[in-house]
């Protein structure tokens, strides 16, 4: 946290509209936002407010209709599809509400997947995966399948996967949404731990107790920051 004012994510006047010419749904109406390195930010708002869309745009899973997005001072909206894939692979770790693990693959295979696409040699990535799964307390389940684990454990697998390529940013979309409060707390503890290690963490939640854990809360309503 030594360089608090080094900005990692700079969004300027981001809009997002869905639909065809006839029926246009405007989800984001010009959102501008700066997130600094090492921050722990919670984005909250009622459902349909556009907070998920905003996170997807930050994570390069979706494309903004207009506006600019600087990630590490680079305009990522101008990147080609393959370059964007590389950014998703190397610089961003994404954690989903519904975990999105490959149910038919074991934990090791799930966690190493980002490293496979990064071209990391098998031995290196396997060592790293064991290390990460140990960090999240799942060292006894390396070759189990996700459906043999509880929801909280699965979300921790997803976090381990997000960390595989040492990204600087962790984006979590309602990471506790499908979990009971105990597991939710565990997951938040892991995220806070990562933040202490210097990762920039952005989470989406509509739970005020969860949001209170963050350093900064951004509230979105009807596609605008309030």
């Amino acid at each position: 946290m030594q360089k608090l004012n080094e900005s990692v994510i700079v969004l300027t006047d981001i809009t997002k509209a869905y639909g065809t010419e006839d029926v246009v749904t405007q989800v984001l109406h010009g959102v501008s936002l700066t997130i600094n390195k090492g921050e722990f930010v919670a984005i909250t708002g009622p459902s349909g407010s556009g907070k998920s869309t905003l996170l997807h745009i930050i994570g390069l899973l979706d494309v903004a209709t207009s506006g600019t997005y600087l990630l590490h001072d680079k305009d990522v909206t101008k990147l080609t599809e393959d370059q964007q894939a590389r950014v998703r692979n190397k610089e961003i770790g994404f954690v989903f509400q519904s975990f999105n693990l490959l149910q038919r693959a074991n934990l090791m295979e799930n966690v190493t997947l980002p490293a496979v696409y990064a071209g990391t040699p098998p031995k290196v990535r396997d060592t790293k995966a064991v290390e990460l799964l140990t960090t999240v307390g799942l060292e006894d389940h390396l070759y189990k399948r996700p459906n043999q684990l509880s929801g909280g454990q699965q979300q921790r697998v997803a976090i381990a996967r997000a960390l595989m390529n040492d990204p600087v940013i962790i984006l979590a979309d309602e990471p506790t949404g499908n979990l009971d409060s105990k597991s939710g707390k565990d997951v938040m503890e892991v995220l806070k731990f990562l933040n202490k290690q210097g990762k920039t963490v952005v989470i989406i939640t509509h739970d005020h107790h969860i949001a209170k854990e963050a350093e900064r809360i951004i509230t979105i309503k009807d596609g605008r920051i309030v």
Partner: protein, 397 residues
């Protein structure tokens, strides 16, 4: 991405989805198997018939009564105007270039002691018959001589079926049998010839033509075989025989046919059959192809979410496409190879009990088609899914 990584990824995907992989392969296996087997049966049949006919002797020309495809009497039967004398004329004129073997064919009851055999085909012919019809080999005894043939000796050469039915394992040589009431002495047994077009070639008795003439009171012959002394004489024999016969008969009274003509007539019939079998094979190929197509479309579509996840984790479009292409290729190759092995195996088994001959083109066609279908329909939905933005693919249900 390295090929080894891709291979690992694809193999992994196939391994963790065993059921889907097996179903896809099954479509390919059935298509390839059915085509190879059916085409093998068709071409085996063709080969079998060709062999049967050429087994009769390739220098052979048939003279049969009536015009093939010609006018018929109101009774529906053409009157047989071909006489024993015509055969004698032919023999006199063509002696230098061909053997002439007239045949009178009748059906009669054959008796030996208390045993009898009905519906035996009685062939009255000349002593040179074994030289003309190549598949006539004697197992025991001897054939009657030309002189015996002409004089009408009361001797008979019996086929295998007659031999088994009347004599079981006793030696028939020298025994007296009754053929349609007349008594004959058995002097020889013909080796088994099998059946041609379902007609038992062994349920026959050969007797001298003069004896048959007397016994059945006929002057007509059913066939005159002409065997050219050399293959290049076949056309000459045919022309000369034609002019000899035309001296007494009209063109409508007889048909001259060379072995080659017979062969081509029958080959025409068989190729229609082969086309029909090929049609059935093509249908199984299309059905197999549709099976592969369905499984591929469904399995890739249900993996849209997985594609979205992989993209979210940093897979490029190229990585996704390579993985799915490789999966489809591996599935179809494995299925194709299993199908080929099963098809070849089944063809081999069929060739023991029936007839079957593997044709290489059917193997290539079946294999190529199945693999093409599998790859095209495996890759098309993957292309579509890889074009979606990661979040759209992830939301896909």
């Amino acid at each position: 991405m390295k090929l080894s990584e891709l291979l690992r990824l694809s193999l992994n995907a196939l391994r963790v989805n065993k059921m889907r992989s097996i179903l896809t392969m099954l479509g390919v296996i059935i298509g390839v198997f059915a085509v190879i087997l059916l085409v093998s049966l068709g071409s085996g049949l063709q080969r079998y018939i060709t062999d049967q006919i050429s087994g009769l002797g390739s220098n052979l020309i048939f003279v049969i009564p009536g015009k093939v495809g010609g006018a018929r009497t109101p009774g529906g039967q053409q009157t047989n105007k071909l006489l024993i004398n015509d055969a004698k004329n032919l023999e006199n004129k063509l002696r230098a270039i061909a053997d002439v073997g007239p045949v009178i064919q009748k059906s009669a009851v054959v008796k030996y002691k208390n045993k009898s055999d009905k519906g035996v085909s009685i062939l009255g012919t000349t002593g040179n018959y074994p030289d003309i019809i190549k598949s006539t080999d004697l197992e025991k005894g001897s054939f009657f001589t030309q002189a015996q043939g002409r004089s009408g000796a009361r001797v008979a050469v019996i086929g295998q079926t007659v031999f088994t039915n009347l004599f079981q394992n006793r030696s028939p040589i020298g025994e007296k049998i009754s053929v349609g009431g007349g008594r004959y002495t058995v002097i020889g047994v013909v080796k088994a010839r099998g059946s041609t077009f379902g007609i038992d070639q062994d349920n026959t008795i050969l007797i001298p033509i003069a004896s048959a003439q007397r016994q059945f009171g006929v002057n007509n012959v059913n066939t005159i075989y002409l065997s050219a002394k050399k293959p290049e004489l076949v056309q000459l024999v045919k022309q000369q025989a034609n002019s000899v016969l035309l001296k007494r008969l009209t063109e409508d009274d007889f048909t001259l046919q060379t072995q080659e003509q017979t062969l081509s007539t029958i080959t025409n019939i068989v190729s229609v059959l082969t086309v029909a079998l090929g049609g059935i094979a093509a249908i199984s190929l299309v059905v197999g192809g549709i099976g592969v197509m369905n499984i591929m479309l469904v399995s890739v579509t249900e993996r849209t979410k997985e594609i979205g996840l992989r993209k979210a984790l940093g897979a490029r479009r190229k990585d996704i496409l390579s993985q799915f292409l490789l999966e489809a290729i591996m599935l179809c190759l494995a299925g194709g190879i299993i199908g080929i092995m099963l098809g070849l195996g089944a063809s081999y088994i069929m060739s023991i009990f029936f007839i079957s001959e593997v044709t290489p083109w059917s193997v290539f066609l079946a294999f190529g088609f199945s693999v093409a279908v599998g790859v095209i329909f495996g890759i098309t939905p993957a292309i579509r899914a890889s074009r979606l933005s990661p979040i759209e693919a992830l939301r896909y249900e």
